[in-house]
């Protein structure tokens, strides 16, 4: 775009604007350079690990690295019949090398995710090939196991020659690729992750609702209490926030035990004649989480309530509103920003709970985080752990986005 000076007042204003922006550039640069070390640090020590997790969720190195010759030989395969001798010879060569470098288990484990029982069959084939002097291999393989005759086996191997795989991400939402390349649900006995995600959302929702119901009156009483009383009350809200999450969880483990304090109280009051199972239950988990999250919901609501002038309710009453109507029509709507801020924060934080469900919950109360940890530590299935992490991250970030839109990052206060 070319502009002639003085032709239009608009262009003049744009030029002034550009000039002002340019003049402010050194100041902006100076301001940003102060934040640069932290931004750089977070990109390296926080964002990069998360990106690495995303890559791990789609990374697919096993088949490519262990069966390279097989994949090359499979390029000419028609996809519907049992491959010919060259493919089997290539597989034999790959497996012989894998047997020597002990990498057969690697590819066996990877293929086993898609074809049950594949791990032991790959290992058996590798041992068989290592014992053979020379081919032909096709008939030997087919004799050893009918699996090697099935075109599905070979299409799974061929598909996993790709550098990236959607397998883990699909598995994290109970889907898989069908033989024809479309999407289908996994077998019902393996379809557990949507249920786990649903449970995580449900528990987070319950905790959010309970903290609101229990916390809203506390926030209100904080605003009407005399100064000294309010200070003590605030202390009682802030101190738990300051106490280590692990300490609070430990306290609940002790309280909820079948020989624990709560059962003793219940039996002492004759509310129950026998011990109630509280630890390793949903009730226990939600109670402990509600306890831990309460301050996060109370504080934003309180800070909004504080700014509502008491005269407004009096005005509403003098204009003829009853106490209920004055509360619902004048007071409650004005506290909404605090309610939204507190509830969204509690919901976001509840989604990521790991320690409390692990220690207080039973097998049916484990959340997405707990499954991620299990797949990393016990099953060594990093791809699936990473994919579950992606699902959890996407859900959390969506709600964080909502929080940023409705509340704003600069509104977060610590007590």
């Amino acid at each position: 775009m070319t502009a002639t000076p003085g032709i239009s007042p608009d262009i003049g204003r744009i030029r002034t604007f550009v000039a002002v922006r340019r003049a402010a550039r050194p100041a902006r640069r100076a301001a940003f350079s102060l934040a640069l070390p932290l931004v750089g640090f977070l990109l390296a020590a926080f964002v990069a690990p998360i990106l690495y997790l995303l890559v791990t969720a789609v990374d697919n190195p096993e088949t490519r690295s262990v069966l390279p010759q097989t994949l090359t030989a499979l390029e000419g395969w028609d996809g519907s019949s049992t491959p010919e001798e060259p493919v089997f010879a290539a597989l034999a060569a790959d497996l012989r090398a894998a047997q020597e470098s002990s990498t057969a288990a690697l590819v066996g484990k990877r293929l086993n995710y898609e074809i049950a029982g594949m791990r032991s069959k790959v290992l058996a084939a590798a041992r068989m090939v290592a014992a053979m002097e020379a081919g032909p291999y096709r008939d030997t393989f087919l004799e050893k196991d009918g699996l090697w005759a099935a075109p599905e086996t070979w299409s799974v191997i061929r598909r996993n020659g790709a550098e990236l795989t959607p397998f883990y991400l699909l598995a994290a939402v109970d889907l898989k690729q069908s033989a024809t390349g479309g999407l289908e649900s996994v077998a019902p006995d393996q379809a557990i992750f949507l249920a786990v995600l649903g449970r995580t959302l449900l528990v987070a929702g319950m905790v959010t609702a309970f903290t609101l119901i229990l916390g809203y009156p506390v926030a209100w009483v904080l605003t009407i209490a005399p100064k000294g009383v309010a200070a003590v009350m605030l202390l009682m809200v802030l101190l738990p926030l300051w106490t280590s999450l692990l300490v609070r969880t430990t306290a609940w483990v002790v309280l909820l035990q079948s020989d624990g304090v709560i059962n003793a109280i219940l039996m002492g009051l004759h509310l129950t004649s026998e011990k109630v199972q509280l630890i390793f239950t949903r009730i226990g988990t939600v109670t402990a989480m509600t306890h831990i999250q309460l301050p996060f919901t109370i504080l934003p609501i309180w800070s909004v309530m504080r700014s509502i002038p008491a005269t407004q309710l009096r005005a509403a009453r003098s204009l003829g509103a009853g106490p209920v109507s004055a509360f619902w029509r004048i007071y409650a709507p004005q506290t909404l920003p605090g309610v939204v801020a507190g509830c969204l924060m509690t919901f976001i934080l509840s989604l990521g709970y790991y320690i409390t469900p692990a220690l207080v919950g039973g097998p049916q109360d484990q959340m997405v985080s707990n499954f991620i940890s299990t797949y990393i530590n016990r099953d060594l299935n990093w791809g699936l752990a990473a994919a579950l992490g992606v699902v959890l991250l996407v859900v959390t970030m969506a709600i964080y986005g909502l929080f940023l839109r409705l509340v704003g990052a600069d509104k977060i206060r610590l007590g």
Binding site: A27, A31, P49, I412
Partner: protein, 268 residues
């Protein structure tokens, strides 16, 4: 101000009920935490109240057992290093963000706060896989790096809040009187915002000292921290030494909280 004069009897009753309810909730907030204190002084290895006989045997185990001592030392070391790093980085960033010319403030702020938001398991697993590439898993350096990332939002928030009440004319006055940038910062700005910086440092220390999940993934036996030692203890067979450790952590929290309360009182 407890009750307006025009309140109806029903309203008065309602208000009494709400206040009673709030009192019960506050009790619910505080009581479970302090239940661990008497239990840690119990002679018996199980957790029933009232305590039949008091003793210090679990504290003797805590302070006599090298596993627990090492864990406490590791936690303290990681927390101090994290505090130094996080406070420096966070304060610098807050100083930049508080300037009126800061570009793309919303985006940068959203990034700087996000370590508080991202589920800690994701940070832990991501660091475990990523740091593994550089041999940083099972090292103190890796733990400190991850903890610093988690702690910086607290420093940024507290220092930004303090800076919002700081009069930037003071910096200008210092410059006009001949102070260099560094001299103006250390002799004028820093003393003024020090309460906020120290609050941030306290938050950073507590974040690292209490953190379990990242430490679970990033430490081996040699760097094992106190919370990790407690966590594995609770998982296997909960023993009263954990109660003693939890009581110590609680005492530390109360001290840090008191320090913070004193700081904010001075500032306000």
């Amino acid at each position: 101000m407890w009750l307006p004069s025009y309140a109806t009897p029903a309203e008065r009753l309602m208000r009494v009920l709400v206040v009673a309810f709030a009192a019960a909730i506050l009790l619910f907030l505080i009581a479970p935490i302090f239940i661990i204190v008497p239990l840690s002084f119990s002679q018996d290895p199980f957790f029933t109240l009232p305590v039949r006989e008091y003793s210090l045997r679990w504290y003797e185990d805590l302070f006599g057992n090298p596993r627990w001592l090492d864990a406490m030392l590791n936690s303290a070391l990681a927390a101090v290093l994290t505090t130094i790093l996080a406070t420096t980085l966070g304060t610098l960033a807050a100083l930049g963000i508080a300037r009126p010319d800061f570009p793309a403030r919303r985006v940068v702020m959203a990034l700087l706060i996000s370590p508080m938001i991202v589920p800690v398991v994701i940070v832990a697993v991501g660091s475990y896989l990523f740091f593994g590439q550089f041999g940083l898993t099972n090292t103190r350096a890796g733990l400190v790096l991850a903890h610093t990332a988690l702690a910086t939002p607290f420093v940024v928030i507290t220092v930004t809040a303090t800076l919002s009440t700081y009069d930037t004319n003071l910096t200008r006055a210092a410059h006009s009187l001949g102070a260099s940038g560094a001299s103006a910062f250390f002799r004028v700005t820093l003393p003024m915002i020090l309460p906020g910086v120290i609050s941030g440092a306290i938050f950073a220390f507590a974040t690292s000292f209490d953190e379990v999940v990242v430490a679970l993934f990033l430490t081996a036996a040699e760097q094992r921290t106190l919370p990790v030692q407690m966590f594995s203890g609770i998982r296997d067979q909960i023993n009263p030494t954990i109660m003693a450790a939890a009581t110590m952590l609680l005492a530390l929290s109360v001290c840090l909280f008191a320090a913070l309360a004193l700081l904010t009182r001075k500032r306000g």
